[in-house]
Symmetry: C2
């Protein structure tokens, strides 16, 4: 029943912080350095580095140090597994609501 | 830039544990008691109660005590906000890849 997706645990945990979601949105526009991100989010370099490290561990962000500047960009991982899980869950819900609808329809037919 | 969705933080955090995702999938099939879930996931009642409490706080699961049995069912909240966030993020990525594709196409045209 419970499928083992360690990546999915990490992926959803990475998304559970508004600053980390903001960093992903920001990098979706264009690449940025740690300093750029710190300025964008009015956060200390240390604070931003911690969030970027979490995103890097999940593979959602890649960083590269060029001279004294650490550049951040999206990837290599995308949110395919997370999207698939939520879509499957929503389908299960829809199927259940459909069955409930059918049941109510049949009950109505019987009682009228 | 960073949008404040406290619910989204909680929603993604709730999904970041495989047992909690399993409970949601299980309840998508049909309602269950805490004991049913403990048996399904081979976990102590205390362990399951903690996970159900997290899901209940986010609104993804509702529980009701009837006599000595606590029944669990899905809702009232669904994963609409989470789905919307991921979809918007994926669109940003696609748009960026499209712009990159256009750029490469133009560059190719110039160099040939």
């Amino acid at each position: 029943m419970v499928q083992s997706y360690p990546d999915l645990d990490d992926g959803f945990a990475a998304l559970s912080d508004r600053t980390r979601r903001g960093i992903l949105e920001r990098l979706g526009g264009r690449d940025a350095s740690i300093s750029d991100l710190a300025a964008n989010f009015e956060m200390t370099l240390t604070g931003i580095k911690k969030h970027v490290a979490v995103l890097e561990e999940t593979g959602l962000v890649t960083t590269e140090k060029v001279g004294r500047v650490r550049h951040c960009r999206l990837g290599p991982r995308r949110l395919d597994a997370e999207t698939a899980w939520i879509a499957r869950y929503e389908q299960t819900l829809e199927a259940r609501l459909d069955r409930l609808g059918d049941f109510l329809e049949r009950t109505k037919g019987t009682s009228s």
